[in-house]
């Protein structure tokens, strides 16, 4: 037990890797979600088809397999990624596919009368989207994005399979070295929960900020 401080340090290193994966994964998932979600609403059938293909592929296959592809198969066609890059790529694109459906549904939830006001005011499609529809849709997206971000956080543990020493991986290391099982896994539990609570609180604050002064959307 004397070495516990050292082992805790090990686990905090893992916690840092997990945090990095989560933040970078979200940073990739968010633009992917908007691109594919808006792509599905495009007037151009090619753009729609590409978006649907992306969404269905990443929702329809397992995150494990996607990660293995990113790390083990891509090098075969000359793209070699570090474990962190492969992890971020797989997590970001996977969660982005779910997010894309959130974006699409949120934009479609904005009433027809808002579209019509945009036409009557002679805004272009892009101007309507950018200034009228998306700002309102974003408010609808936040709660589900919060779910997606927490899912992404929890999914980061798969990267231990490509030898990235994230939180779960380090817990295993500590367990095998100390023979103690409950303590490392309790620590892992607490840290994941703390992270998830942080995401939750942040998103709630964001939602409150965005709904200020609005009604008829969300309260």
């Amino acid at each position: 037990m004397a070495d516990w401080a050292g082992y805790l340090g090990l686990m905090l290193d893992g916690a840092l890797v997990t945090a990095k994966l989560t933040v970078l994964g979200c940073a990739l998932a968010l633009p992917a979600a908007f691109l594919a979600g808006l792509g599905r609403l495009s007037r151009h059938s090619t753009v729609r088809a590409l978006s649907v293909a992306y969404i269905e592929f990443f929702r329809g296959t397992s995150i494990f397999v996607q990660l293995f592809w990113a790390y083990f198969v891509l090098p075969l066609i000359g793209v070699t990624l570090t474990p962190l890059q492969a992890g971020v790529l797989a997590l970001g694109l996977n969660v982005g596919a779910y997010g894309a459906e959130v974006v699409r549904a949120a934009v479609q939830s904005i009433g027809r009368e808002q579209h019509e006001a945009c036409i009557a005011l002679n805004l272009t499609r892009w101007q309507s989207l950018r200034h009228v529809l998306l700002p309102q849709a974003a408010v609808v997206m936040v709660p589900t994005f919060c779910n997606n971000a927490i899912e992404l956080l929890k999914a980061t543990s798969v990267v231990s399979l490509i030898s990235l020493s994230d939180l779960t991986f380090q817990a295993q290391v500590v367990r095998s070295q100390t023979g103690s099982t409950a303590l490392p896994f309790l620590t892992v539990l607490v840290i994941y929960f703390a992270y998830a609570s942080l995401i939750s609180a942040g998103m709630k604050a964001l939602e409150r900020r965005m709904t200020r002064g609005l009604d008829g959307l969300r309260t």
């Binding site: 009368e113 808002q114 019509e116 006001a117 036409i119 009557a120 005011l121 002679n122 805004l123 272009t124 101007q127 200034h131 009228v132 700002p135 309102q136 408010v139 002064g213 609005l214 009604d215 008829g216 959307l217």
Partner: protein, 261 residues
Amino acid sequence: MTDTIIDIDRVTKRYGSHTVLQDLCFSVRPGEKLALIGPSGSGKTTILRTLMTLETIESGTIRIDGEPLFQMERNGSLVPADEAHLHRMRTKIGMVFQLFNLFPHKCVLDNVTLAPMLTKGVRKADAERRAMELLDLVGLADKARAMPAQLSGGQKQRVAIARALALQPRIMLFDEVTSALDPELVEEVLSVMRMLGSTTDMTMLLVTHEMSFAHDFADRVLFFDRGRIVEEGPPDVLFTNPTHERTQAFLKKIIAAGQRI
């Protein structure tokens, strides 16, 4: 070219098998104030929505300033209008909706300045100065920073009118703009419209169930029924001495419902 600003020629519009507008013909002179009345489902709102390009038509021609709305000339023949043509045609037309359709995430001032800044490239300061003049005109200068949710229905509708005016359209379409309002708020909107009618040379088309307002406001009244114009004339004639039995029946119902004409 100058004697009509809107020319509607044999326009037909269907929703599936239901015909909403049937061989509709009428034209409007520049500056004319037109009231469209008739039972619900008679097509009067549809023709306003069509003029605003919110609906398409199956056949017929609509000309604004002599130029086809849904077609454009290319190599000497008429082809279906593209987005750029519609965009150019829409600069002539503004519309106020029954349910206001304000942007709930923007304050009153931003609701009014958004379109001039985006579509005409007006600088923010200029757009805001102009917006404040318009808000002053509709009696809401003190609400510039309020959010739409904080306003009453009558105030929302006056903001919507200011917002449409900000683009300086030559034609304004008012689609049952007081129908969603509490009775005590109707007058504040009507008085703004009355003021616009007497101080501007805008062409104004209004669909309304406020017969006494239509009577005082309009130069000409069109009575719609089943997608056609059954009868038209100056308000004094049409309201007091309608010749068609459907017009008579409609006005009788309106009076029975307690409205003064």
